[in-house]
Structures are given as C-alpha cells and as structure tokens.
C-alpha cells in the first residue's frame, strides 16, 4: 500500500470516528431532553384534565359522591393543620441537632455513626415511616388515626432532611466569624446564637421550605394514618380524623368514574400551585437574605 493510500485510509477512519462522536453527542442531548419533554407532557395533560374543574367551590366543598359537588375543603385545612404541627416539631429539632453535629460534637466513632445514620435515614422508604407511626403513635401511644399522629410521623420523615440542609448551611459560615466572637469572650452558645445561626439563616430557611414542600406532597405514610375515604368536616382538635390534599387526590383517582379523575387533576393543579409557591419562596428567600461574605 502506498503512503498516499494509507493516509487516505486514516483520514476516512478519522472521519468515521468523528461521525460517530457527533451521533453520540446528539444522543446525549436527546436523552437530556426526554425528562424535560416528559415533564412538559405531564403538565399539559394534567392541566387539560383539571382546568375545567378548577372552580372556587373546589376550595369550599367537602368530598362528595357527585363529581360536580366534590371539593378539597377538608383536605386543604387538614394539610395546613398537619404540616403546621409538623413544622413546630421537626424544624427546631432538626436545626438544633445540626448545630450539635457541626459546633459541639467532637469527632469520634459515635459521632461518625450518628452522621452515617442521618444520611441513611434520608433514604429509608417513606412508607416505612407510616408503619412506624402506626406502630408507635397510633397503637403504641394510643393517639388513634389523628392529626397529631400524622404530624409526628411526618416530622420524623423530614427530620433527616432538615438536619442535612442545616448542617450544610452552618458549615458554610466562615471560621473568622466564630473566631471574632470568641476573641471578644463570647461563650459557645453565644457564638452560635448571635453569629453562626443568623449567618446561616438563609441556607437553613431554604432547607426548611424544601422539607416543607416534601411533606406537603407526601402521601404514602399518611395513608396508614388517616386515609379515610370521606372526611366531611374540618378537623377541630389534634385528636380528630383528617385527610390531606395528596390523599384526597388518591381517593378520587381510585374511583372508577372518570369524572372523578378530572376532580383529581384539578386537585393536582392545586397541589402543584402550593408547591410552586413554596419553592418560589425558598428561592426568593435565598436570594434576598444571602449575606455577602
């Protein structure tokens, strides 16, 4: 084979390799698009199904046997109630636990075990928290299938998320801030209370709101604690039965009458609106309150 022919052959092969590379890059782009296109189809489909049922009565009516009458009043109030109580329990606990792990704990095998455990807890399937709530709160502590049992179960569910997010935020506080405070004679708690926490606040709040939106969308564990098909009243005390938005949606989807699927789709739009609001707030908060280091 002459030198010229070998050169030509090499060029051809190089061209082929480049061609394959271009196809590969295109495939990568296409794969990235699949998820986004899917999300788009999902939103369009749910909006098309649910929009005709999006009326003010949706907020004021209770569950009903007639699709045209059915609404989400008890589910909305139940969601507010459950998530509110959950917040009172989970957020202080989670932030304080994070403070301990970042500012107080000395590195030791025990602390290490604690850290691994928090990370592991975040990947325990949520339905197992439902079994925990059923076994410990509903039956063990005799709370019954009440608002309180649901709120406490959700609190345990989001606790690891709050801890992880708060730790990230606390770790990002520069050491010079702490050193300056210590130099002026502040105690450890004073340093944390007056300097580290305010500095870390935007990050902590962002984590809290994201955990909040996780709790609002959570369905599986609450099915075991309050999946009543029919709650035609607003919960008055923490001992009342309750239902929440995702579970009411689940009930409507499970009904055979396709009209109810549209009511469910309208409920999904409500749920997504709540989540969008929460996530928007999280982003706004992060941008607004970030202290320039």
């Amino acid at each position: 084979m002459s030198v010229l022919a070998a050169d030509l052959d090499g060029r051809r092969r190089l061209e082929r390799r480049r061609q394959t590379a271009r196809v590969f890059v295109a495939a990568c782009q296409a794969a990235t698009l699949v998820g986004l296109v899917f999300l788009g189809i999902l939103l369009v489909d749910v909006t098309r199904d649910g929009a005709p049922y999006l009326r003010p009565e949706l907020l004021t009516h209770f569950p009903s046997r007639f699709p045209a009458q059915a609404g989400y009043a008890s589910a909305l109030v139940g969601t507010l109630y459950v998530v509110g109580i959950m917040s009172l329990v989970a957020f202080p606990l989670g932030v304080l636990a994070a403070v301990y792990l970042e500012e107080y704990a000395h590195p030791s095998p025990l602390t290490r075990a604690l850290e691994v455990n928090v990370a592991n807890l975040a990947s325990v399937p949520s339905i197992l928290y439902g079994l925990l709530g059923l076994g410990v709160f509903v039956e063990g502590m005799r709370m019954g299938k009440s608002v309180l049992a649901g709120a406490l179960t959700l609190a345990l569910l989001v606790l690891p998320l709050v801890i992880l997010a708060s730790r990230e935020a606390i770790r990002a506080v520069p050491f010079s801030v702490r050193e300056a405070a210590y130099a002026l004679g502040a105690t450890r708690w004073q340093v944390v209370r007056h300097h580290v926490l305010p500095y870390a606040a935007p990050g902590i709040f962002t984590g809290i709101i994201l955990s909040l939106s996780r709790a609002v969308g959570e369905t599986a564990p609450l099915i075991m604690l309050g999946a009543l098909q029919y709650v035609p009243f607003l919960p008055r005390s923490v001992w009342d039965y309750f239902t929440v938005l995702p579970i009411q949606i689940f009930n409507y989807v499970s009904l055979p009458n396709p009209e109810f699927h549209r009511v469910a789709a309208a409920g999904i739009l409500l749920l997504l609106a709540v989540l969008l609001f929460l996530n928007g707030t999280a982003i706004w908060l992060r941008n607004r309150t970030t202290i320039q280091g």
């Binding site: 590969f24 998820g35 999902l42 749910v46 989670g94 704990a105 079994l131 076994g135 369905t219 689940f250």
Partner: protein, 331 residues
C-alpha cells in the same frame, strides 16, 4: 465574678446537653423503626405458636380465624417461615390465607428493573451531556429543571401513569394485551422519577474528574465520544454505580406510582404487561381497608415492611461499599 462564671458554665453545659439530645433523637428514629418492624415481624411468625395455645386463641378472634384458615400451620412457625420465603401464593387478605411473599417480591423487582432500564441509560447520557458537552449557560438551567422531576409529588406520577401512559400504550403499542394496571407503565414512569437522581449525582462525579485526564486523551487524538466513554465514565465509575444503586433503592421503596398504576393483585410473573403488586402497594392496600390492631392482616403489614426495610438497607450498604472499593483517587 466566680459565681457568675459557674452559672454561665452550668447554662452552657445544659444547652450542650440539650443539643446532643436533639441529635441523638435522630438515631432513636432508626432504632424505633427497626424495633417496631422487628417486634411485629416476630409476632407474625409466632402466630402459629400463639394459635396453638387454646386459652389464648379463645380470647383472640384473630387467632381463631387464623386457626380456621390455616390449621396446618398451628404450632409450626418454621413451616410458616418456609412458606413465606418459598411459596408463590400471597393471599393474607382472603379467607384461604397463603403467605408466600415471592409474588410481591417479583412485582417489586420487576417494576424496579424497568425503572432502572429507563433511568440508567437516559440519566448517564444526560449526565455526559451536561458535564462534557453542554455550554455553561445551558447546564445551569437544565440541571435544576431536570431536578424538578424529583420534586413532583409521586401521587402526580401515579395519576399520570394510570390515566395517560397506560391508555397511550394500549392505544398505540400493545392493544388489549396490556392490562389496565401493569408493571410496564408503573416502571416507565418511576424510571423518569428517578432519572434526576442518576443524572445529577453522575454529573457531579463526572465534573470532579480532573481536566488533565481529558486533555491527555484529546492530545492523543481521541474524539469527544471516546473521551467520555473511555476516560470520564471509567474514572467516575464508583460514583455512577453508587448513584444507580441509590436510584434502585428509591424505586424499591416507591409507593404511590405502583399502588395506582401497577395494581393490587399479587401475581407470580415477570411479564411487564400484566398486573402485579409490589411490597409497598400491598402495604397501601391493607391500610386502605380497616385492619384491626393485632390481627393477622395487621401483622403481615409489618412482615412485608421488614422485607422492604432489609432490601433498601442492603442497597444502601452496597452503594456505600461500591464507593469505598472502586473510588479512583487523583493526587
């Protein structure tokens, strides 16, 4: 002055102890989950023992029903244990009770594998694109947009799988061979749900691969594809594998999508077109009925839950091990 210092010391110590308590509470949650599951699971497998005690059985209607339904198991917990792990009929909610958990396991494995078959290739290609080829501006916008997929409540995916994906597949691909509730739609949609888990985590590790390695490969005349497939992916393999195992663990534990779209019929099959029931869907099914505390059905809930707990725990340990063993170090 000295007294004030002591006061201050006491207060500081008390605060420190309080904070420690908050942190240890999180460990308490794990212990509580394991303890509740373990206790109720043991109670489940001891049902034959309890039923063999006539005095106890006379007082507890659930034991009487157990004796009526399964006289062959009375006094023989080992047979129940063997049935649980080896038989292929799961019907604790019916009057003829069989406790072979394999159909639930098959449903769980089938839907999870379908989800992985969607999420791993798509997620990896997306990660390669975002880390290697995408302009910075595109990457900054597309990555959070993909992560939105993980933030959509699973009930929404369940609705979509049941009311859109299944009818779509029936009309355009499989016809009536596809059951109204089936493993395929549930698995496909679940795959999209866990896609950002694979793509985001893989992208992070791919970006951590030092640029010198890429430059070296380009200097040898490699094309972008060759750099991605033969340099970047092998170098970040441990992180990618961990991300995939994590995604699998999430798929195994996912509940609402499978409860709505895969079905509630325990089915010993690996045909994705059929209705199957997963462990999680079974737990939902029992919870929807009114199961009295301590009944046979109530106990099966925890036995199935224990199986789920062990499965996801194994996955987490595996992902931890993978990262430890195959991590590439660049120093």
């Amino acid at each position: 002055m000295g007294e004030r210092k002591t006061d201050r010391w006491i207060r500081e110590s008390a605060i420190g102890a309080g904070l420690a308590l908050c942190a240890w509470l999180s460990l308490g949650v794990t212990v509580a989950i394991a303890a509740v599951l373990a206790y109720e699971t043991v109670e489940f497998f001891r049902l034959p023992v309890h039923a063999a005690d006539p005095q106890l059985a006379a007082r507890r209607p659930d034991l009487q029903r157990f004796v009526e339904a399964r006289p062959d198991l009375v006094g023989n917990p080992w047979r129940l244990l063997r049935e649980f792990f080896t038989e292929t009929t799961w019907s604790p909610l019916y009057s003829t009770k069989r406790f072979g958990v394999l159909p639930l396991l098959a449903g769980t494995v089938l839907t999870s594998l379908i989800a992985l078959a969607v999420a791993v290739p798509l997620g990896l290609l997306a990660a390669v694109y975002l880390s290697e080829f995408a302009p910075e501006g595109v990457r900054r916008r597309v990555k959070p947009a993909l992560e939105l997929l993980a933030g959509v409540p699973t009930i929404v995916y369940g609705y979509f799988a049941l009311t859109f994906v299944t009818p779509f597949l029936q009309d355009h691909v499989f016809g009536q061979a596809l059951a109204g509730q089936n493993a395929l739609s549930a698995g496909l949609v679940m795959g999209i749900m866990i896609l950002p888990l694979v793509s985001s985590l893989s992208e992070d590790v791919m970006r951590a691969v030092p640029a010198e390695l890429r430059h070296g490969a380009y200097a040898l005349g490699a094309t972008p594809m060759e750099v991605a497939l033969r340099v970047v992916i092998p170098a970040s393999l441990s992180g990618i594998a961990a991300a995939c195992v994590l995604a699998l663990s999430r798929a195994i534990g996912e509940t609402m999508i499978v409860a709505l779209a895969a079905g509630q019929t325990p089915n010993w099959t690996f045909n994705p077109l059929e209705t199957v029931e997963t462990i999680t869907a079974f737990i939902v099914q029992v919870s929807l009925g009114d199961t009295p505390y301590g009944s046979v059905e109530y106990r099966t809930l925890f036995a199935a839950g224990m199986l789920l707990f062990v499965l996801t725990l194994l996955m987490n340990l595996l992902s931890f091990r993978v990262v430890q063993r195959f991590r590439e170090r660049y120093l």
